[in-house]
């Protein structure tokens, strides 16, 4: 139905609708699914995201590899104490991104979006936005359709695997998905969604995948917070009228090429980057 961002944009013009509507239309046509089935399935994922975002806020939750323990709880306590200084929306986006990553690393239930390693980005932004601006679940699910369109384009025309493209392919894609979705949720145009996605990719371009001890723990958890906050910033830039000079299709291609040119040591092999820092490998003994 559409294979790149240009065609997607044309479809939104022809049908006079949002990116999310086109993605639902595609799902109905290509997979012969009913609209209500699509909704219920996405609703299930949305509920999992919300649950994971709130799970480790008041309790410690140890990761399997032993690097993560109480990050979300600590951030929650800090915010509750009134000492936080990033503003409510960013506070929450960071909090929930930390929380979902921690749930993931401790063998809890999450939604890969687009991957398990980047699973904190979308719920980070989305749960924060819903709680701050009181959007309905229906509106959030509609926004998830928009996000999935950007993820689809990236999976189709590039890749979303850390082993192939580094963290920019995982957290970068999640961030671009969220940025585009936030624009639609906030009442922006399809064109602005695409600019937001381009901004998000461009900001995170080149980010390596360097998991300590090869585990989805450090730096994955905090990288999810940069994915979430980057999405908020990029959505706001796009809606303020700041355009990206690189069209989304080209940006996706650029991300793919940069990923391929990253050395293997910086693509999920734990042979470079933070994974090879001098003084961290003590933690490995607990894994």
């Amino acid at each position: 139905m559409f294979k790149n961002a240009k065609e997607l944009l044309e479809l939104t013009n022809t049908h006079e609708c949002n990116i999310s509507d086109i993605m639902v239309l595609r799902e109905k046509e290509v997979f012969n699914r009913k609209e209500e089935d699509i909704y219920h399935r996405m609703e299930k994922s949305w509920n999992i995201m919300k649950k994971a975002a709130h799970k480790p806020l008041d309790q410690t939750l140890d990761s399997m590899g032993g690097f993560l323990h109480s990050e979300a709880k600590d951030m929650h306590t800090f915010i509750e104490s009134g000492k936080s200084f990033c503003g409510e929306l960013v506070d929450k986006a960071v909090l929930y991104a930390l929380a979902v990553s921690q749930v993931n690393a401790s063998m809890g239930l999450i939604v890969a979006a687009p991957t398990a390693g980047a699973s904190g980005v979308l719920p980070g932004c989305f749960v924060a936005l819903q709680e701050t601006y009181h959007y309905s679940d229906e509106q959030m699910i509609q926004a998830l359709y928009n996000a999935s369109a950007i993820g689809y384009l990236t999976m189709r025309n590039a890749n979303v695997s850390g082993a192939q493209g580094g963290c920019q392919a995982e957290v970068g894609t999640a961030s671009a998905m969220a940025a585009s979705a936030i624009v639609e949720l906030m009442g922006g145009t399809a064109k602005q969604s695409m600019h937001a996605a381009s901004h998000a990719f461009m900001n995170i371009l080149g980010l390596i995948c360097d998991p300590i001890c090869g585990l989805v723990e450090v730096p994955c958890q905090t990288r999810n917070t940069i994915g979430a906050t980057n999405a908020l910033i990029c959505a706001q830039m796009a809606m303020s009228g700041i355009a990206n000079v690189v069209p989304l299709d080209d940006m996706i291609e650029v991300m793919d090429q940069v990923g391929r040119s990253l050395p293997v040591s910086l693509r999920e092999t734990a042979m470079g980057g933070s994974a090879k820092a001098k003084h961290i490998c003590k933690g490995c003994s607990s894994s």
Partner: protein
């Protein structure tokens, strides 16, 4: 090219931390369990490549045992699968192995059923929770688990395939892929049939009546939802 659904992007719903090391491992073991027709009482997992190096931190071990118990990749009991295995009388063990010939996330699963019959299956996790089964009981195959699959063990004799496909046709089942493998000429052969429709139980009974057919295993397609 396989079309990408919005649920391939936002999904699968899964137990973390890794789609390849956790969800994929669970699915490989789910398939292995279905190859045996009887209750499995003990299992050994030989882990290769990245599976061997990082299985503990990724919960690959727990996911494999969970899959062997029939749990789906989104089952919250996966983390406690070792306890569940003890309750259900499944003994399990893991071995770290090395063989550069195998893909990075490969596992060989050795199973023993309650009648001491043994089964072996080799599978690899290919990313995003998707898997490929490379070998069943020593016979090289290529199975994704995305179709309903019949694994037929038969005597290598003329006419078996014709009878098999005519039974399937009688049930209105369309064959997507069909492959034939044999251990030795004139002895034992395997037919692997992947089909579009779900199977009906009476179909197996009819297949098992055939004298040339030694055993029939059914692997229902793995659904993510």
């Amino acid at each position: 090219m396989k079309e990408i659904s919005m649920f391939d992007v936002i999904g699968p719903n899964m137990i973390g931390p890794s789609s390849s090391h956790t969800a994929g491992a669970c699915r490989i073991a789910q398939i292995a369990r279905r190859i045996a027709n009887e209750k499995i009482v003990s299992v050994r997992f030989d882990l290769y490549g990245s599976f061997a190096k990082t299985y503990h931190g990724h919960g690959t071990d727990r996911a494999l045992v969970a899959g062997m118990l029939g749990m789906n990749p989104d089952d919250e009991r996966i983390k406690d699968s070792f306890t569940c295995a003890s309750k259900e009388g499944l003994a399990y063990s893991f071995k770290e192995k090395h063989d550069p010939a195998f893909a990075p996330n490969t596992v060989i699963i050795h199973m023993v059923d309650q009648y001491q019959q043994t089964y072996t299956m080799r599978g690899e996790s290919v990313g995003g929770g998707e898997v490929m089964i490379n070998s069943i009981n020593g016979v090289e195959v290529n199975l994704s688990g995305e179709y309903d699959t019949l694994v037929v063990k038969q005597h290598d004799a003329p006419g078996v395939i014709a009878r098999l496909s005519s039974i399937l046709a009688n049930y209105g089942i369309n064959i997507a892929f069909m492959k034939l493998y044999r251990e030795d000429k004139g002895k034992v052969a395997y037919t692997i049939v992947e089909v579009d429709e779900h199977f009906d139980k009476t179909l197996f009974e009819e297949l098992r009546k055939d004298r040339a057919i030694i055993s029939v295993s059914y692997i229902p397609r793995l659904e993510w939802d």
